[in-house]
């Protein structure tokens, strides 16, 4: 096992940042800690690195209890949200830093350091900038140097704290794919923190969804996305339409639309519930194809690249429903604002109403 976290708890005065968190990460795995800001994910990462101490719990890295070790003995690579490159040092000196501070007997020779730094900079495609200063690089370039610097000390574990959040959208996406590729090459056990569900879904082998200092769910991106265990996870993983309804005789009614309640809620007495539908799981057609179809009017059309967003006022629904359809369908159906359409809710998820968004 690469990383074992056992019952980690951390409080800041009277605020609980982490509440009894246990988590295992296999060697070579790339795990995303996903959650809204303030959920404790960064604190957890800092605790693993030794930059914070937990109030309770154990951190075991590669079978070794490192809970009370200082950061320099943990052998953990850390990549910061704002790069934290040493501004007075060149790119070369930045990457070489971790090797140059080693005690004399462990320190590689000058030429070995040179070689290792050059190799790492090549790996992150920054070898051309070896003599530059951080201020002469763009955000994406800085973060790649920061990654090379963290890898220089051969860390057992690589921790990345919102590594792409300070970059603009296009660079972010590019760097994300590049990191995935790099990880497939070097296989270092990695945890990255993000509040961006797209990033987590695309990049991670496994996603751990955290909320208010607790783990809500963990699993592969597919599992978490397709089978969210509760309303929070479902809601956090993408855009949603929320309907408040009541469960009655094992059914939830949404206007003219009736959905089976999930098994665990079927036998409860009449109770409040929340139903969720993702915008892209809504069908639009000009012909009524099923009796359960809703009738709606297009109130607003948003062009979102390959997808078209529709804002629909549906009969029997208080709030408008958001739908996303492929551009092709939009063109073929010759839709426009004000048009009447039939709306089918293809995939409805129902959760008990014990949770607030």
């Amino acid at each position: 096992m690469g990383i074992e976290l056992q019952n980690i708890t951390k409080k800041f005065s009277d605020y609980t940042a982490l509440d009894n968190i246990s988590l295992n990460v296999a060697s070579g795995e790339l795990v995303a800690l996903l959650g809204p800001s303030g959920c404790g994910k960064t604190t957890l990462l800092r605790i693993i690195a030794g930059l914070e101490l937990p109030d309770a719990g154990k951190i075991i890295l590669e079978q070794k209890d490192t809970t009370n070790l200082p950061p320099r003995k943990k052998n953990v690579g850390f990549v910061f949200q704002h790069y934290a490159l040493f501004r007075r040092l060149t790119v070369f000196e930045n990457v070489a830093f971790g090797l140059k501070v080693l005690p004399m007997r462990e320190r590689p020779s000058r030429s070995a350091i040179q070689e290792r730094v050059e190799h790492l900079l090549k790996l992150v495609q920054m070898d051309w900038a070896i003599k530059r200063y951080p201020s002469q690089l763009s955000g994406g370039q800085r973060q790649r140097v920061a990654l090379a610097r963290a890898l220089a000390v051969n860390p057992k574990v690589l921790l990345l704290d919102e590594p792409f959040s300070a970059l603009d959208a296009k660079v972010r996406q590019e760097l994300r794919r590049w990191l995935r590729k790099l990880h497939d090459e070097i296989h270092v056990t990695s945890i990255f923190v993000t509040h961006d569900q797209e990033e987590a879904l695309e990049l991670a082998d496994r996603i751990v969804v955290i909320n208010k200092g607790r783990i809500e769910q963990q699993g592969t991106p597919q599992e978490v996305y397709d089978h969210p265990v509760n309303a929070f996870v479902y809601n956090f993983l993408g855009n949603v339409n929320v309907f408040h309804g009541r469960i009655k005789e094992g059914k939830v009614s949404l206007g003219t639309h009736h959905v089976d309640a999930p098994d665990e809620l079927k036998h409860t007495e009449e109770s409040a519930s929340q139903a969720f539908v993702r915008p892209h799981e809504i069908g639009i057609s000009k012909i009524r194809s099923a009796e359960t179809d809703l009738t709606g009017t297009i109130q607003e059309v948003r062009i979102m690249g390959g997808q078209i967003g529709l804002n629909l006022a549906c009969e029997g629904f208080e709030h408008p429903i958001d739908a996303e359809i492929p551009r092709e369908l939009y063109v073929n159906l010759q839709l426009a604002k004000g048009e009447k359409v039939f709306v089918s809710l293809n995939r409805v998820r129902v959760f008990a109403s014990d949770y607030e968004i």
Partner: protein, 288 residues
């Protein structure tokens, strides 16, 4: 293609953005007047008085043994005070900006105390603390250590008065830089002294130097606190400002101003170093 004309209103606004000419003239004039009245004129008078009895008298006055002793004492004091206060200042700034602890805000406020307290009071505090009539002072006396009316007392008083300069220069700088780089160094396996030497110190070096320059300027010129603890023993406990004052009170104006001109030269030297460093600083801030 025709460029669109800016609407008339923006033209009017543009004219009004800079102050009208008379206001500019008045403000620049007032500033100049102040400079002339409070800096150039007094400086000129210092030199006029210093040379009032001719070159030879001037040279004699500054070569006189007591004058040379006072310069030595002042420079010795600066040589001890500035490194010590650089050390204390870095320590205080480090503690305040890198750690969280109770009473941090109070400590930050207390740092300004030496500026707020009159230097004479500061001097008196040390007389009351380690003067020969206090238990601690008499004990020290028995050990053969004399603080008041000797060099250690002058150094301590100057240390107190000039303590805030370095810390005040560094705290905002270190607060702005944050802890990220230090934390990065920590995760890369660096020890405390390595982090300080390789990361923190290079990041604050200009601020530190600047603080040290201000600290030396004040150390050279300090009168009040030093006057109380020194005892004015000629050739032993007289710093340059004290020597100037003694000569002046003896109506030896030419000699007094001649020695004062040494202070002026030292002040010009520090200002010169400061300007050079500021230029360097601007060049280097590229790598910020």
């Amino acid at each position: 293609m025709l460029k669109p004309q800016p609407p008339e209103s923006t033209l009017i606004v543009k004219k009004r953005i800079s102050d009208p000419l008379p206001v500019q003239i008045v403000l620049i004039g007032l500033t100049l007047l102040f400079f002339i009245g409070f800096i150039f004129l007094p400086l000129g008078l210092v030199f006029a008085q210093a040379f009032s009895k001719g070159w030879e008298y001037y040279l004699e006055a500054i070569r006189e043994p007591y004058a040379i002793e006072s310069v030595k004492l002042t420079l010795t004091t600066v040589a001890i005070v500035v490194p010590l206060n650089a050390f204390f200042g870095v320590t205080a700034a480090w503690a305040i900006t890198k750690f969280n602890f109770r009473g941090k805000a109070t400590l930050k406020t207390l740092l300004d105390l030496p500026f707020a307290v009159s230097p004479v009071i500061a001097g008196l505090i040390f007389v009351l603390l380690v003067g020969s009539r206090t238990p601690f002072g008499s004990w020290l006396g028995e050990q053969g250590i004399k603080i008041i009316f000797s060099t250690p007392g002058i150094v301590i008083a100057t240390l107190f008065v000039t303590f805030p300069f370095v810390a005040r220069e560094l705290i905002p700088l270190m607060e702005a830089q944050g802890r990220d780089e230090e934390e990065a160094a920590l995760t890369l396996g660096a020890r405390g002294w390595q982090i300080f030497g390789k990361i923190t110190l290079p990041n604050i070096r200009w601020g530190l130097l600047y603080g040290m320059i201000l600290c030396s300027a004040r150390s050279i010129g300090e009168f009040g606190a030093v006057s109380v603890v020194s005892g004015h023993i000629r050739g032993q406990t007289n710093t340059i400002p004290l020597h100037v004052e003694i000569l002046y009170s003896e109506y030896n104006f030419a000699a007094s101003f001649a020695v004062a001109s040494i202070l002026v030269f030292l002040a010009l030297l520090t200002v010169g170093v400061k300007v050079t460093l500021e230029k360097q600083f601007q060049k280097n801030s590229f790598h910020h």
